[in-house]
Amino acid sequence: MDGQAQGSFLATLLSTEGAGEARQWLKVLRAEALERANALSVPTTRDEDWRFTDLSPLYRLSLRTPAAQATADITPHLIAEAGVTLVFVNGGFREDLSRGLAGSGLECVRLRGAFADADWISAHLGRIAAVGQDAFTAANTAAMQDALALRVPRGRRLDTPLHCLFLTIEGGVLTQPRVLLVAEPGSDAMIMEDHVGVTDAAYCTNGVVEIAVGENAEVRHVRLQREGKAAYHIGTSAAAVARDGRYRNWSVAFGARLSRHNAHVRQDGPGTHFEMDGLALLAHRQLADTHSFIDHAAPHGTSRQLHKCVVADGAHAVFNGRILVREGAQRTDSAQESRNLLLSDKAKVDTKPQLEIFADDVKCAHGATVGQLEAEEVFYLRSRGLSEPVARNLLTYAFAADIVDRIPVPSLVRVLRARIIERTGGPEIP
């Protein structure tokens, strides 16, 4: 491993030029994160959490923090159902391109310069995505200069989904977007976190989204990773869920040369419900690594997780699904499934469920399968007249569409289905 490359990459990650004035608590948060990031340094494959995901090509890239205000056409990336669209271009928030905030019921604070301070921000920012052992989250926090804090007020329901579009339009840049969503008690909201790249050149995104789900509130979180084909994408989405709160997440990854998604959910009170569905659709030499961590820290929590990978060519999928049931988290009911479909001899999956249980009255199930299409399924479709390639494409499509179809945004389901058809070839409807 090239220590010099790592060092210079870390320096780029931590460049905080133009941070400007900030509130004291935010300065402290950043300073602590900076210290942590320097202490941890960036990971290598010698770190257990990064065994399968070699970042050394990323460290050798020469990246710059992008200058603001490039022009961008966001029309092709809009989602019809979204009421509010918040646009980030090359990591910087673009008020001029964003729309729908007025009258939406959503409060939005831009954490830049002398922003309007509030307890709901300082209580959660940097407290949900733990810096802990994660140098990238630490770096994002240390370099944070143009983050957004969003609040859904108590008892309020957002009628339409909120779309956060993170658009990267040029190569050679390092972007570190940051969003905090606070759903106050009894509120209901849907957020679509959407990472899009429109350049084929290499760049790096290191994004962090934090979500605080208040008592008896519900947040539905769609996460799309459709970065450019040479991109490096590192993203953490972390949710902390209070008593009786519900958090549902659908994550779909099909972009980037290399991507890593850390999906963390923490139970902060009894009676919570988590659902996490994931799909990685990979081809060529892509690598997608999902590390999920479901932390049951209080009684009567339920969690359901289904993660699927469809891996073609020489691509590589990694899934590490950690579920922790802490002492005292009695009557936790947790189920996790990892299902993987390999479409070529060179395709590779590393899947690892990791169940750690410290309570005695719990129901936990997990399972993992890696394989090819079932001969019985292919035969069934052929016996209905479909040729073997059509049958295989249809089954591959079905395997992936199963996840996409769960996303409660019809126009997005159509777009994602079309992407799956592009990748799998099926179903061909005459």
Binding site: E374, A375, E377, L394, A398, P427
Partner: protein, 257 residues
């Protein structure tokens, strides 16, 4: 129904087949003419389901000897999809689920593929919708089944009705119904059997593969065959099924031994 002069649809001679080197079918002779209804009965593991799958073209089975001609064609030389297009149909004992693919989409894909191969007209989605809804009435199926994923979350009875719906759409010349009655309650059985009876004609034929005599109360066979140890060891009329129901298979196994 049976007419000795009716054209032969299927002629199987001396058929042997094995899976993973283990012989399952050990010399089957079997002839089906147009207009006939056959029942193949037999104990578990006798080879009934294997026989259906071998004829439908399941790639896991190796044909070690024998021939099967379907309407004059060498059936065994065809791929599974070619057999379906040629008019052979198998109703599965355990139909597979295809989540993410709407039933209507799948049915139309199968229908149009087979129609195209037979040189007949394909239907666009609107035309097909009308067409399939008519066929669904036959099986007392709710049109909501068109929008649901193929067999996903269907009950046992719903899956079997969906199988017979596919039979109604693909209009096979010869249909094998593998354990179509197992797992069905009496109402579902009556509906499925009515559907099958509606599809019968003097130009096609049906072979029911079943454990139970019950189905034969609803679809009356012209011939009942008993399979044991990978061979058809006895053939009779519909009264044979009643005798099997009353006496079991032991007496036939002794006779055959």
């Amino acid at each position: 129904m049976t007419k000795p002069e009716a054209p032969v649809l299927l002629e199987v001679q001396g058929l042997h087949a094995s899976v993973a080197g283990v012989p399952i079918l050990k010399g089957i002779d079997f002839t089906v003419r147009a207009g006939e209804v056959h029942a193949i009965m037999g104990p578990n593991g006798s080879g009934k389901s294997t026989f259906s799958k071998v004829l439908a073209g399941h790639p896991a089975y190796e044909i070690t000897a024998g021939t099967a001609r379907f309407q004059g064609q060498d059936l065994l030389a065809l791929d599974a999809e070619e057999r379906a297009r040629a008019g052979f149909f198998l109703s599965f004992q355990y139909p597979i689920e295809v989540p993410g693919v709407a039933n209507a989409q799948f049915l139309r894909l199968a229908y149009n593929t087979v129609q195209g191969a037979r040189g007949k007209d394909e239907l666009d989605p609107l035309e097909f919708d009308d067409f399939v809804r008519e066929k669904m009435k036959l099986l007392e199926m709710d049109p909501a089944f068109l929008d649901r994923s193929v067999n996903a979350g269907f009950s046992g009875g719903e899956k079997k009705r969906n199988e017979i719906l596919q039979m109604a759409l693909l209009e096979p010349t010869l249909a094998f119904l593998d354990e179509t009655d197992s797992g069905l309650d009496i109402d579902a059985l009556r509906i499925v059997a009515n559907g099958v009876n509606h599809l019968r004609s003097d130009r096609n034929a049906i072979v029911m593969v079943t454990h139970y005599q019950r189905l034969l109360n609803y679809i009356t066979p012209d011939f009942v065959h008993v399979m044991d140890g990978g061979r058809l060891v006895k053939t009779g009329g519909k009264e044979l099924a009643l005798e099997l129901e009353a006496r079991g298979y032991d007496w036939i196994q002794k006779q055959a031994a």
